[in-house]
C-alpha cells in the first residue's frame, strides 16, 4: 500500500530523514513480510545445506580417538607444513603477480586487449583437464617439458613430480597458473576505478612510474588487496583439485595438504571420522581469517 503522507521529494537531507523513518515505520508490517519472503529461500538453503552438514561434520570429527590417530600419523606434520607453504607462497606470489599484471594490462592498445583474452583462458577452461595436462606435462620420462629439454640439451630434465620439494613447487605453479587471471581481472577493475584526475594531479607533482604506483595506486588498492588475500587464503585452504590431480599427494605422500589428507584418511584408510578430524584441525587458522574478513568487509567499504 502506498504511503498516504504527503512526501515532497527529498530536497534537504535533514528533512527527508525523519520523514523516511516514519514512512518506513508505518509500513513496517508489510515491509517486514516482504523482507522475510525475499530471504526465505536463502534461509532454507542455509538451514538445510549449511547448518546440518556442518553439524554432522563436527559430530563425525568429535571423537578424541580420531585426533590421537591423526597426530600419530607420520605424514600429518608434513601435511601441515605443506599446507602452510602452499598458502603462504601460493596466495601471496599469485596476488602480487596479479597486482603487477593488472598494471600491465592497463596499457592502451589492441594487442594488450587481445593478450588479456588469451590470458583469461586458464580460468575459463575447466580445472580437471588442465590439471591432468599439467600432470602429464611434468612427467619426468615422457612429459612435454622434459621432452623439450631432451631435444634441446640431450639431458634428462628435473624429476618434477618425483622429488618432494619439486613436486610441491609444481603444484604451487599449477595453482598460480589457474587462478592468476581471475585475481588479475579483479585488480584490474580496481585500478580502473581509480579516478584519472588523481593520476593527472600526481603527474603535475612529478609522480610517474614507480613513484606513482607507490603513492597513488597502492594506497588506494591496499584494502582491496587485503580482502583478496583473506578470501584467497580461505578458498585455497579448501582446494582439493590442484594437489589431487597434479601430484596426487606424491611422491610417497609427501605433498599432501589438509584438504587432500582428509579425503585420503576418509577413503583410503576407510576412516571418515579421522578424515573430518584432519580438516577440523584447519579451523584454528580458518576461523580467525573469516572473522577478520567479516570485519574488513563491513567496516572499510571495500568493494570486491
Amino acid at each position: 500500500m502506498a504511503s498516504t503522507s504527503t512526501l515532497t521529494t527529498a530536497t534537504g537531507a535533514k528533512r527527508a530523514r525523519p520523514r523516511r523513518a516514519s514512512w518506513y515505520a508505518g509500513l513496517l508490517g508489510s515491509d517486514f513480510a516482504w523482507g522475510l519472503a525475499f530471504v526465505l529461500p536463502y534461509l532454507a538453503v542455509f538451514l538445510l545445506f549449511v547448518i546440518y552438514p556442518v553439524a554432522y561434520g563436527l559430530w563425525l570429527g568429535s571423537d578424541p580417538r580420531s585426533y590421537t590417530k591423526l597426530f600419530a600419523d607420520p605424514i600429518y606434520i608434513e601435511t601441515i607444513i605443506n599446507t602452510v607453504i602452499y598458502l603462504a607462497v601460493g596466495v601471496n606470489v599469485k596476488l602480487f603477480l596479479a597486482l603487477l599484471l593488472s598494471g600491465f594490462f592497463m596499457r592502451p592498445g589492441w594487442w594488450t586487449k587481445t593478450l588479456l583474452l588469451v590470458f583469461i583462458l586458464p580460468w575459463a577452461v575447466p580445472a580437471i583437464p588442465t590439471f591432468i595436462s599439467w600432470h602429464w606435462m611434468l612427467n619426468g620420462q615422457w612429459g612435454l617439458i622434459n621432452n623439450a629439454i631432451w631435444d634441446l640439451f640431450q639431458t634428462d630434465g628435473p624429476p618434477w613430480l618425483d622429488v618432494a620439494h619439486l613436486a610441491m613447487g609444481s603444484v604451487i605453479v599449477a595453482y598460480i597458473w589457474k587462478w592468476l587471471p581471475f585475481w588479475t581481472v579483479i585488480f584490474l577493475a580496481g585500478r580502473m576505478a581509480i579516478p584519472k584526475e588523481l593520476y593527472e594531479a600526481g603527474a603535475v607533482d612529478g609522480a610517474t612510474g614507480f613513484r606513482r604506483f607507490v603513492h597513488i595506486t597502492f594506497p588506494l588498492m591496499a584494502n582491496l588487496y587485503i580482502v583478496c588475500t583473506l578470501l584467497s587464503t580461505i578458498w585455497t585452504l579448501g582446494d582439493f583439485n590442484t594437489v589431487h590431480f597434479v601430484s596426487g599427494g606424491g611422491p610417497a605422500l609427501q605433498t599432501h595438504v589438509l584438504a587432500t589428507l582428509g579425503i585420503r584418511d576418509a577413503f583410503e584408510l576407510a576412516d571418515p571420522n579421522m578424515g573430518m578430524a584432519a580438516v577440523i584441525t584447519a579451523l584454528p587458522l580458518l576461523i580467525p581469517l573469516v572473522i577478520f574478513l567479516m570485519r574488513k568487509l563491513s567496516t572499510s567499504e571495500v568493494h570486491l
Binding site: R20, P126, W134, L220
Partner: protein
C-alpha cells in the same frame, strides 16, 4: 635517457612480458591439444610436436565410439543442466537475499551477511561425507539436484556479497520514487533492481556456471550411474584404464572446455564491471 628512448625500452619490455605471458598461459593448453591430436601409440613417445597429427580422437568423442565415451553427450547434457541450474538458482536466491538486505534493509541483514560468510568457514571439500549422508536423507541420491544444491550453497554467499556491493551504486531514491508511485517491493525488484543489476547478474551467473562446470569431488561422490554422472567424473574413469587412450581423454576434455569458454568470452565485458563495481575507498 630521452623520452623516446625510454618509451621504446618500455615497449620492448612490455613486448617481452607479453611473450612470456603467452608462453606461460598456452603451454599446458598446448599440451592438451598435443595429446589430443596424437595417435594412441605416440602419446607416450616423448614428442614435443605431434608426429602424425590426426583428428581421430575427436571423431571418437563425437561418435561416442569408445566404450568409456559411450555416454559422453548424455554426460555433457548433465553438466550443462547442472551448470545452468546452479547459475539460475544462485542468481535468484542471491539477488533476492541481497535485495532484502540492501534495499529493504531488513533489521538483521548484517546477521545474514555474516551467516553467509560462515559457509566459508569449512571449505567445500571438507564437507564431502556429510553431504553424501544428507543427500541420501533428502532422497536425492544419484540425482543431479544433489550436486546443484551443493554448488548453490557455496556460490550464493559470494553472490550476495557482489550484489550487495553493486547495489550500493544504485541510488535509493529510485526505490523511494517507485514506492511513492505505489509499487510493491516485488515490482521494484523486477522493474528497477534487476535491470540495473544486470552486469552483476551476468558476472555472477557466469561465475556460478564455471564453478559448477569445474566441480569434480561432489559430482563423483553424489552421482553414480553412467546416465547421471557429469563429464569430469567420466573423464576420471579414464585415468584408471590399462589401455590408456589418453588422446581420447584430452579430446573429450577439449570438447568439455568449449562451452564455458564461449560463455565467458560472450560475457567478458560484464565480468570485470560486475565483479568489482565501485571503488576502493577506505
Amino acid at each position: 635517457m630521452s623520452t623516446v628512448a625510454r618509451r621504446r625500452l618500455g615497449n620492448a619490455g612490455a613486448g617481452l612480458v607479453g611473450i612470456l605471458i603467452l608462453i606461460w598461459t598456452l603451454l599446458p593448453l598446448y599440451n592438451m591439444v598435443l595429446v589430443a591430436v596424437q595417435q594412441k601409440e605416440d602419446v607416450f613417445a616423448t614428442n614435443v610436436f605431434p608426429p602424425h597429427p590426426t583428428l581421430e580422437s575427436f571423431y571418437a568423442v563425437f561418435e561416442e565410439s569408445y566404450w568409456y565415451l559411450a555416454n559422453f553427450w548424455r554426460q555433457m547434457g548433465n553438466s550443462a543442466y547442472i551448470g545452468v541450474a546452479v547459475a539460475l538458482l544462485t542468481l535468484a536466491i542471491g539477488s533476492m537475499t541481497s535485495y532484502a538486505i540492501t534495499r529493504l534493509r531488513i533489521r538483521l541483514g548484517w546477521l545474514l551477511t555474516n551467516a553467509a560468510l560462515v559457509t566459508y568457514v569449512i571449505p567445500m571439500s571438507f564437507l564431502a561425507i556429510p553431504f553424501y549422508r544428507i543427500m541420501k536423507t533428502y532422497g536425492l541420491a544419484d540425482n543431479a539436484w544433489a550436486v546443484i544444491l551443493v554448488e548453490v550453497t557455496f556460490a550464493t554467499p559470494y553472490a550476495i556479497f557482489i550484489f550487495s556491493q553493486y547495489s550500493a551504486s544504485i541510488p535509493h531514491e529510485l526505490d523511494e520514487a517507485a514506492r511513492i508511485d505505489g509499487a510493491s517491493p516485488l515490482q521494484i525488484f523486477f522493474r528497477i533492481y534487476l535491470p540495473l543489476m544486470a552486469p552483476a547478474l551476468v558476472a555472477i551467473g557466469t561465475y556460478a556456471l564455471l564453478l559448477a562446470w569445474n566441480e569434480y569431488l561432489y559430482a563423483f561422490l553424489l552421482l553414480s550411474s553412467d546416465s547421471t554422472i557429469t563429464v569430469p567424473v567420466a573423464l576420471g574413469k579414464f585415468l584408471n584404464s590399462d589401455e590408456a587412450p589418453w588422446n581420447y581423454l584430452m579430446a573429450a576434455s577439449i570438447v568439455y572446455a568449449l562451452p564455458p569458454l564461449v560463455i565467458y568470452y560472450i560475457f567478458r565485458r560484464y565480468m570485470s564491471a560486475g565483479l568489482t563495481m565501485g571503488g576502493v575507498k577506505g
